[in-house]
């Protein structure tokens, strides 16, 4: 190989490395000292299925107000529902070994959300205080929907200008010192708002202080790397609509294997290919076949 080829290969190598560094995924910064994630402790033994949280949520978010009269509730709670592009939170009723149990379902505000990792434009963001919020620079690719293990983000398919809709832990109200809309109206304190540390402590305290009342597991403590909605239950969680096969690996970690390979491919592939192209070149009589502009190596050592 002559000087020229050597410099070409080194140059492309360094250029790739410099460019590739931009692509190495950086771990998210730890929260600023003094900042903690906030969340909600959901004690399903206290929930009476009145659905006032659904009404409260709709009121503070300008969504259609659900009818939560006794008779309507009877019908609505017959089959488990999902959140929709019009309802950020819903109550489901499950018949269990301990009788009927009511469970509020909404965004879990994961510690390391899959939706945030999936978003190409940072429309889905995990705020420093733990809230996972959606913003209008979204392009509507719906990868957040595919990446959420709880199937929470909902797309407004019927609109020409659709948004992604989900609970945002009342981010705007939080910044005005107010409680989330659901927590504020819950009559039985089934919903408790606080820092994740506080609500986790409270959950463990309740379990320890009431042996036999609760299953000794807080759903969301470790699931998918931990979430900010933590659930207490009197029965195993599979009986009240929770999946027990989601694992404890934070969802973004499933993509990091591929992402870490990217800089290597960006550096190694061009070098290997340039090397192969140079290596397969015939030294004699190949001038005509050479790219115009690339001088031959005859006598250029």
């Amino acid at each position: 190989m002559d000087r020229r080829d050597f410099l070409k290969i080194m140059g492309s190598g360094f250029a790739s490395i410099a460019g590739a560094d931009l692509l190495i995924p950086k771990r998210p910064l730890a929260s600023t000292p003094g900042t903690e994630f906030y969340g909600i402790l959901v004690d399903t033994t206290r929930c009476i299925g009145c659905r006032r949280c659904e009404l409260g949520c709709a009121e503070v978010n300008g969504l259609p107000l659900p009818d939560i009269s006794e008779s309507t509730n009877q019908t609505v709670l017959k089959t488990p529902r999902k959140t929709t592009d019009r309802q950020y939170t819903i109550i489901n009723k499950y018949e269990t070994s301990e009788g009927p149990i009511y469970v509020p379902k909404r965004c879990m505000h994961c510690n390391q959300p899959g939706c945030v990792a999936a978003c190409p434009v940072k429309a889905m963001r995990k705020r420093e205080q733990g809230h996972v919020t959606w913003d209008v620079n979204c392009i509507g690719c719906r990868l957040c929907m595919i990446s959420c293990p709880f199937d929470i983000p909902k797309h407004e398919y019927s609109k020409a200008f659709p948004r992604i809709q989900k609970c945002n832990l009342c981010w705007d109200r939080f910044n005005q010192g107010q409680l989330p809309g659901c927590v504020e109206v819950c009559p039985t304190q089934a919903l408790m708002f606080g820092t994740r540390r506080q609500i986790l402590e409270e959950g463990k305290r309740r379990i320890a202080a009431n042996p036999g009342k609760y299953v000794d597991h807080i759903y969301g403590e470790y699931e998918v790397g931990g979430t900010s909605h933590l659930y207490l239950s009197a029965v195993p969680f599979e009986q009240i609509g929770f999946r027990n096969d989601l694992g404890t690996v934070p969802y973004p970690e499933y993509s990091t294997g591929f992402l870490y390979a990217v800089p290597f491919i960006f550096v190694l592939w061009p070098i290997a290919m340039l090397g192969m192209n140079r290596g397969t070149k015939k030294e004699n009589g190949e001038e005509k076949e050479e790219h115009h502009g690339e001088e031959t190596d005859k006598g250029k050592h």
Binding site: L23, P120, R142, S255, V262
Partner: protein
């Protein structure tokens, strides 16, 4: 296409002379002349394709005006991705993989045997990304924000989708550079042809690197759907499976499309090219057979390693066996047999079966093996509108391809002045 049968070698030779374009006005005149249809417009293909294309354009306007809801698409909260992403974009990009594979073979490994089809393949690849990756604009809900991954200060740099978006864009540019010598020859722009020819190797190396990453990247998009994709398909190595399968997906399309082009544009091919084409088919067939066998073995390995063998004796398992045996193993052996016997009919058959297998595979990841446990009444099926728009996009791409192959030196020999400059 009766028009082609009328064209003579003399007319083709006349085209090989460069047009005299000295100003923008000249260029417009030249373009107008080139856009005039050459033969009969009312060919069977045109009569069938044009109404579908026009209907598709109407539906596209409807989609933009009213959103993605029914009856435009059957997308739902459980199935956010359907035909447009799963087939147009993801499968389309796999099929376009022939371009990077063939560029690697011709420009990096210098296997001159395949040189005659390189331009048609690169053109196909470029148009595929232009149209199919362009179809993304149709599918995303907030399409007016499409430029957001490209410009601004909100780059989701840790997101696989961000990487895929950039790669599609850069790869389109690389392929345009790779194909641009043919455009320069068409315009008679000798200076441009010289410069662009010198950029080919760089564009090829850049393109192959990008392709490796975005072919595997499309698979990486599904990594966080672990709880939703059936264990016989889900593995940490989905990106590698997508990359490996893009090799034989792309080459199968090259065989399929090449067979059609070589018949339709036979008048452009000299005897030498026609003789070589059989050798090319046999060579591609061998490559496909080897890669497909490796892919099959890899799949088995991953299923065993992932403790998913027990799922094979279930309905979804039978579906998986159908995809793996019927549409990977069978065409693999057909390619092998076809290459051994130089049986081009068998090779073409193998290519079609392989392509169906790729479609099945990609659609499995998008909405069949994805959320496979959802009850039948809630499952996703494409609407007639989705199917029409997809057909319209593909047919439009074929029309553009046809126009370019007719007017530019893609299959026919480049003009003498360009050949003197050397390798394109």
């Amino acid at each position: 296409m009766a028009g082609e049968k009328l064209e003579t070698v003399a007319v083709a030779a006349e085209k090989a002379e460069s047009p005299k374009i000295k100003s923008f006005g000249d260029f417009i005149d030249f373009l107008k002349k080139e856009l005039k249809p050459e033969g009969s417009i009312a060919t069977p293909f045109n009569i069938i394709s044009l109404p579908i294309m026009l209907l598709g354009y109407v539906f596209i306007v409807l989609r933009l005006a009213s959103g993605l809801g029914k009856p435009i698409t059957n997308l739902s909260q459980q199935y956010p991705w359907g035909l447009w992403i799963g087939f147009d974009v993801v499968t389309g990009v796999a099929f376009a993989g022939g371009a990077y594979v063939l560029c690697f073979i011709v420009y990096i490994l210098r296997a001159e045997k395949y040189h005659p089809i390189i331009r048609a393949t690169v053109l196909n690849g470029f148009l595929a990304y232009l149209f199919y990756a362009g179809a993304i604009v149709l599918d995303i809900g907030r399409w007016w924000n499409i430029y957001n991954p490209m410009v601004g200060n909100n780059f989701g740099v840790n997101a696989v989708m961000f990487l895929v978006a950039w790669h599609f864009f850069l790869y389109m540019l690389a392929e345009l550079v790779e194909f641009s010598p043919a455009i320069a020859e068409w315009l008679g722009a000798r200076k441009a042809r010289k410069i662009l020819g010198a950029m080919t190797l760089g564009a090829v190396i850049f393109g192959i690197t990008l392709s490796t990453l975005h072919q595997s990247g499309l698979g990486a998009l599904m990594m966080m759907a672990k709880s939703k994709i059936h264990p016989l398909w889900y593995t940490e190595f989905i990106p590698i499976l997508y990359f490996v399968s893009s090799i034989f997906a792309g080459l199968s399309l090259v065989i399929f499309e090449g067979s059609i082009s070589h018949k339709v544009f036979a008048y452009q091919l000299d005897e030498h090219h026609k003789e070589q084409y059989n050798d090319i088919l046999v060579g591609l067939s061998r490559i496909c057979a080897v890669v497909m066998f490796g892919y099959f073995f890899l799949k088995i390995l991953l299923v065993v390693h992932g403790h998913a063998v027990k799922y094979i004796n279930t309905p979804m398992g039978y579906w998986w066996l159908l995809e793996m045996i019927g549409f990977v193993l069978v065409p693999c052996f057909a390619f092998l047999r076809g290459a051994q016997r130089e049986d081009t009919a068998l090779i073409k058959f193998a290519a079609i079966i392989t392509m169906i297998g790729i479609i099945l595979n990609r659609l499995n990841y998008t909405f069949i093996a994805y959320n496979w446990y959802v009850p039948l009444s809630e499952k996703y099926w494409p609407t007639p509108i989705e199917l029409t728009v997809t057909a319209s996009i593909i047919l439009t791409e074929i029309w553009v391809f046809r126009w370019m192959v007719r007017r530019m030196p893609v299959l026919r020999e480049p003009p003498a002045w360009a050949k003197a400059m050397g390798h394109d």
